[in-house]
């Protein structure tokens, strides 16, 4: 077609512009984190690593403290996601649509309302102290939909008869799960672990409501944003977070889609 031919030359250009717009603002953070100036203005004159030094001194503790919470939430949501995905894919369930809708609710509700209702749930209804573990529960809540979607997509792709064959060959349900289902679902499970970790890692609103006096990394950063003196150190911290995020997400996305040849 004529039209096709005319557009083809422009495709890389337009893609390039979009990628620039999507990434440009975010990439300013690492760029200015090396800037030896408290103001973020062009042109950049001197480069420095001192903001990274300042950051490492103070923030290592917070990161370590919360890492375990996020790992716990990622594992919990992956287990929830796996069990429900298996149920959805294997069995014909009455009211499947409603079940799926219920699990997807955390994706749709504004996080400020989730935060307020969980706060009321923990403080007023259960009357428990806000600890790291109440935050872990909240993280699990918002990551479970992602886990379910990722693992379900993976499980839908493979042939049920493999599990049936294993059962016919005398494997117990547990052996079938461990030696057939789990290995087949593995890319999905790994992607789900990474994505849920990432979701908790970046989460701000719920942690803001629920973390009481122990700030998570995003809450801590948000608190510092008002003070211009701290901005460069936050840029350094943010750049580290970006690098970790992009590495984790690229891996997860590669696991999730990259092996799916039908998309190519």
């Amino acid at each position: 077609m004529m039209r096709q031919g005319k557009i083809r030359g422009l495709v890389p250009v337009i893609l390039g512009i979009y990628i620039f717009i999507l990434y440009g603002p975010v990439l300013l953070l690492p760029l200015f984190s090396f800037n030896d100036n408290i103001y973020m203005t062009f042109p950049i004159r001197d480069l420095t690593l001192k903001w990274y030094g300042q950051m490492i001194e103070e923030k290592a503790m917070i990161t370590a403290l919360w890492a375990s919470v996020k790992v716990t939430a990622a594992i919990a949501s992956t287990i929830f996601g796996f069990m429900s995905a298996k149920a959805m894919v294997t069995y014909k369930i009455v009211g499947k649509g409603y079940v799926l809708a219920l699990i997807m609710v955390p994706l749709v509700v504004p996080s400020i309302i989730l935060g307020a209702s969980l706060l009321s749930f923990f403080r007023q209804f259960l009357d428990v102290e806000l600890t790291l573990w109440t935050v872990a529960l909240a993280y699990t809540l918002i990551s479970t939909p992602f886990s379910l979607l990722v693992i379900m997509a993976r499980l839908e792709g493979f042939d049920r008869s493999l599990e049936e064959a294993s059962a016919d060959l005398g494997m117990s349900a547990w052996q079938t799960f461990r030696r057939v289902t789990l290995p087949l679902a593995m890319p999905g499970v790994l992607a789900s672990l990474l994505l849920s970790f990432m979701v908790s890692f970046d989460e701000f609103m719920l942690a803001f409501f629920l973390s009481s006096n122990q700030a998570t990394l995003p809450v801590y950063m948000y608190g510092l944003l008002r003070f211009p003196d701290f901005l460069p150190a936050i840029l350094a911290l943010g750049s580290c977070i970006l690098v970790v995020s992009v590495a984790l997400i690229s891996t997860a996305e590669w696991l999730r889609r990259g092996q799916d040849k039908t998309l190519h």
């Binding site: 495709v11 603002p25 973020m40 149920a87 609710v105 479970t144 997400i249 889609r257 998309l263």
Partner: protein, 314 residues
């Protein structure tokens, strides 16, 4: 006709059945739903507690006085919202809804062309491009907002670049702390999120319909308006609804780049929580926001549904 595999499988199940065939066992073996729900039970219980019970607790708290364990029933929280001097809540709600509409429209307008390009004109390395476009969505939302603060602030990137190019003589202090800053920031923050559903619904369109439209003499734009756009509507509407709902409750962006004129309802909820520690009023305002949101969303769905039904009739 059952396939050979199913027959064999059925045989296996019969063999596995315990000899004492109690009713419960038979039900267990014959009801797929039951086994499905057994596997779903932990997740569902968790969801019911963390969502439904939590929401009920929020509703209950919104009718209480702010006295912790000694709280009593009261309607004061709602009275505060609807009282004549409580118009700040109503103004901010309307502003939040309106800004969310604007942001959603901007996101869709920004995302549609790239989704279209990816679906129809990118032939190789589609997966690669999709991954590249989705990655920013997963990076820290706080950082994405923060980067716009860096760009727009008075001692920021945009001002310094314009000064350097000689477009302006002195830094502008009007870029940040207003509504447009909030709209630009949120449009950018959600772009990666909307591209995917739109792309998926475009990708699903049967190519032969597009060819048929051209063969029958439609121009590019006519084909787009009459075939491509309507068929991609599921993705567009899905993204629209989700973006609209999520943006109304936003608080980080207005707090960081919004200034006074960009303040939204989320900001007042947060300040009631942090500065006044008035959790019952937080609950009431949240419920108020959620009900208004649900109403608007339902209206939107009804309008869309109504239009579809009309088209079906004619």
């Amino acid at each position: 006709m059952a396939s050979a595999g199913e027959l064999i499988n059925r045989g296996a199940e019969t063999r596995a059945r315990p000899s004492g065939r109690s009713r419960l066992w038979r039900w267990w073996y014959t009801s797929e739903s039951l086994r499905g729900y057994a596997l779903l039970a932990p997740t569902l219980m968790f969801m019911v507690f963390m969502l439904l019970v939590a929401l009920t607790s929020l509703v209950a708290q919104s009718f209480m006085t702010n006295a912790g364990a000694n709280a009593e029933f009261t309607l004061d929280n709602y009275a505060a919202i609807f009282a004549p001097n409580g118009d700040i809540f109503r103004i901010l709600l309307l502003r939040s809804l309106w800004m969310s509409v604007l942001i959603t429209v901007c996101v869709v307008l920004f995302c549609y062309p790239i989704a279209y390009l990816l679906a129809f004109h990118v032939k190789r390395h589609k997966v690669f491009w999709l991954i590249v476009i989705t990655i920013p969505f997963w990076t820290s939302y706080l950082l994405r907002v923060f980067s716009w603060k860096v760009i727009l602030q008075q001692e920021g990137v945009l001002n310094s670049v314009m000064l350097w190019l000689g477009v302006i003589d002195a830094p502008l202090n009007t870029l940040l702390h207003n509504r447009s800053a909030v709209i630009v920031t949120l449009t950018h923050a959600w772009a990666a999120f909307a591209i995917l559903p739109i792309y998926v619904s475009l990708e699903k369109i049967d190519r032969s319909w597009l060819e048929a439209s051209i063969d029958l003499g439609d121009s590019f734009w006519r084909r787009f308006l009459r075939v491509t756009l309507p068929l991609s509507m599921p993705g567009v509407l899905g993204a629209t609804l989700l973006l609209f709902i999520r943006n109304v409750g936003d608080f980080v962006t207005p707090a960081l780049v919004g200034g006074v004129s960009g303040t939204m309802l989320g900001n007042i909820i947060v300040s009631l929580f942090t500065d006044m520690a008035n959790e019952p009023l937080v609950a009431a305002v949240s419920i108020f926001m959620m009900l208004s949101l649900t109403a608007v969303a339902c209206l939107f769905v009804l309008l869309i549904g109504g239009r579809k039904r009309l088209r079906g009739v004619t």
